[in-house]
Amino acid sequence: MTNASALRREIEHALEHRFPAALTPAQKTIHETYATGIAAVDALLEGGLPVGAISEVTGPECSGRTSLALSLVAGRTHGGQVCAWVDAEDALDPESAAACGVSLRQLLWVRCRRVAGTGKVTAKARMGHVDQALRATDLLLAAGGFAAIVLDLGGTAVEDARRIPLATWFRFRQAADRARSCVVVLGRASYAQSSAAAVLKCAPLRAQTAGGTVLRGFEYSVARERQRFVPGAAGGRKPPASTWNAPWSATGAWVRGERG
């Protein structure tokens, strides 16, 4: 036994009545992840999005957020599980979902609607559909059993989504942990703050065309802004920032024989 080990054991014995195993690194907790099905993103996240936690996929419109979320849902539904899509803006396109490989029979789609008002549009009326989406997510998390729940705030104005109290996100985090669901929030910015276990920032790179006449697909970039449960990081070091983003691409449903 080396001197360092002997010294460590001596200190631990001396302190064990106050701090058990004071100098021994904490046991690594293995967090389950769901692969998104996009190799570059899964490599970036070292497995996929965390289960039992909130993940945020942020970015402007046309940055690939919806394609990424649909790819995750497609993987889950093909594994025999069921997923839910809480659509605050009623923006989901079922044809796109089917083209992405989602088994629609195993997808529960909640289409929230804007509250029609007359005259002056109040903040409450403007938040009506967001409120519906939050209540629906609450119910789905309480019911349990959904592998992934996508809360789609992708078209919601940032100032509206920022009105969601942090207590709501905290509650979602606790409920997701209990239900072992992967909650994915699509938005223009990050809203859940410290309640989010992973935050991905998406951005468009360029369009791919075929002969300049047909839109073939898009190239996107995704950057990891936060990842609380890094599988290899427990007790180790934070990975260098240069590995925190990756490019990926998606093609149109009319392009055959391509793999992402």
Partner: protein, 498 residues
């Protein structure tokens, strides 16, 4: 030793029992039931509290109203039919051979319980358990057990609680009963009264030959009944298994809580009867008779047949909250369709799935939030029409693992409704478009892709699609789907690629 054994179940004042069985709110209240058409209504049944208060059978409405504190209800044949079915259903759990011996305002059935000793125990035990089961179903009954059919029948009508007549002691057990219990005609009853014959014991003591000589062959039957030796050919009935409950409110009910209170009790009864046959409730139909003659119908369909009362009641509450009756409710009929209970083979490695019953309640709540048609699973329709899909109910069905799709696909985010835009064309290609708020300069446009269909019908379409890459004034870039409706010449921003 005789192997025949009969248990007679007697429910007195049945019209009153049938009405009060589902009305927990009237427990302890003095209630009398009137039959006949106004103004000739007469009291035909009452509960014990009404009898104590001074009400009596045959009273007119005015006389009954003069007795203070007695609630007067109208006799309901539907409520009685439902209650009778429930009683027979309950009794059928003890013996499949039941003869209906009801008459007048009483409900009586006689069970052939011969040979059930090894199943249920002694006759006293059978009678006790049967009475307990009927009490739980809301019936106050008296039960008599005897080796003779008629002895059991006559004794049950006169006894309170449970009476067991030992073999050979029938005459002694019936001796104190009045001769009127034989259902004699007025003339014969008068003759017996003149002779001073008041009880069955006194009738049994008369010599048979002389009795027959004076009153005919019918007297032999009466004497046999009084002695407990009359023979009877048992005629078991085939009870129809219908899950139906009915409740008629004396005043129209508006409050949802009151409806659910009564509805809960009815669901309880239906679930109990279905469970008695190892069945579950696959659907429950509610039929509300509303004030003003209208009718309101709802059907509750759980994802899987169930007998869970709380779950069914919750579904009912959520459904009625979303679709309340448009007027006060006068009567409620609840019918159910029986189904086989769900059997699920659980597995250690089966994927995580929601519990079907919880999903039912969750979806009902989601529909209350988002709308009836806005929650479910999308189903693509077999059509070339753009955005052709319909919503279907979401069901948790175990699915097998399948192979994945072909790769990563671009997804569209639909704008519902599509935004009308003003488009400036360069040649035939969009160059600039404006959605009323912002202006977009088109950098690349791919198209047009034309589609049309259903030209022979009203729902026809003729559209021209453009995949457009555009840049806003602040430098942000978007990729979107512009559609020109060739019918009305309007450009619309249909979706964004995301």
């Amino acid at each position: 030793m005789s192997t025949e054994l009969y248990a007679a179940v007697h429910a007195a004042e049945f019209p009153a029992q049938a009405l009060l069985r589902l009305r927990g709110d009237l427990a302890g209240q003095a209630v009398a039931v009137l039959e006949g058409r106004a103004p000739l209504e007469r009291v035909c049944a009452m509960n014990r509290a009404a009898r104590t208060a001074g009400a009596a059978l045959g009273m007119t409405r005015l006389e009954a109203e003069a007795v203070g504190g007695v609630l007067l209800l109208a006799r309901s044949s539907e409520a009685e039919a439902g209650a009778r079915a429930a009683l027979l259903e309950c009794a059928a759990a003890f013996s499949p051979r039941i003869e209906d011996a009801s008459g007048g305002t009483e409900c009586m059935c006689v069970l052939d319980i011969g040979g059930t000793e090894r199943l249920f125990g002694s006759p006293e035990t059978v009678a006790g358990r049967l009475r307990g089961a009927l009490l739980a179903a809301g019936f106050r009954v008296s039960i008599a057990v005897s080796g003779n059919f008629d002895a059991a029948r006559l004794k049950s009508a006169a006894a309170r609680g449970v009476a067991v007549i030992a073999v050979g002691e029938e005459a002694q057990a019936l001796a104190r009963l009045p001769v009127g219990s034989l259902g004699l005609t007025e003339e014969v009853a008068e003759t017996f009264a003149l002779w001073g014959i008041r009880t069955l014991g006194e009738l049994a003591a008369l010599p048979e030959v002389e009795l027959v000589a004076r009153l005919g062959q019918a007297a032999r039957v009466w004497r046999g009944l009084a002695l407990g030796t009359a023979s009877h050919a048992f005629q078991p009935m085939e009870a129809e298994f219908a899950l139906k409950e009915f409740c008629d409110f004396e005043t129209p009910v508006e409050e949802m809580e009151s409806l659910l209170f009564v509805g809960g009790r009815m669901v309880d009864c239906l679930a109990g009867r279905a469970a008695g046959r190892a069945l579950s409730l696959a659907s429950v139909s509610l039929h509300f008779e509303l004030a003003g003659g209208r009718v309101h119908r709802r059907v509750i369909r759980p994802a899987l047949p169930t007998v869970d009362r709380k779950f069914l009641l919750k579904l009912m509450q959520l459904d009625l909250a979303a679709h309340p009756p448009q007027a006060a409710v006068k009567a409620l009929t609840m019918t159910a369709v029986a189904g086989y209970a769900n059997k699920v083979q659980l597995g250690l490695f089966a994927p995580q799935m929601p519990e079907p019953s919880r999903v039912d309640v969750t979806i009902a709540r989601l529909k209350a939030i988002a709308g009836e048609e806005r929650v479910g699973s999308p189903v693509l329709e077999d059509s070339h029409r753009p955005v052709a899909f319909r919503m279907e109910g979401f069901q948790v069905v175990p699915a097998r693992e399948e192979a994945g799709g072909e790769g990563i696909r671009m997804a569209l985010r639909r704008l519902r409704p599509a935004a009308a835009v003003r488009v400036v064309l360069r040649g035939e290609t969009p160059a600039i478009f404006h959605d009323g708020l912002r202006s977009y300069a088109v950098t690349e446009a791919f198209g047009p892709w034309r589609s049309s269909g259903h030209w022979w019908a009203l729902g026809n379409w003729d559209a021209e699609e453009w995949d457009v890459l555009a840049e806003m004034q602040d430098g942000a870039r978007v990729a979107c789907l512009l559609v020109l409706d060739r019918g009305d010449g309007i450009w619309r921003l249909e979706a964004l690629y995301d």
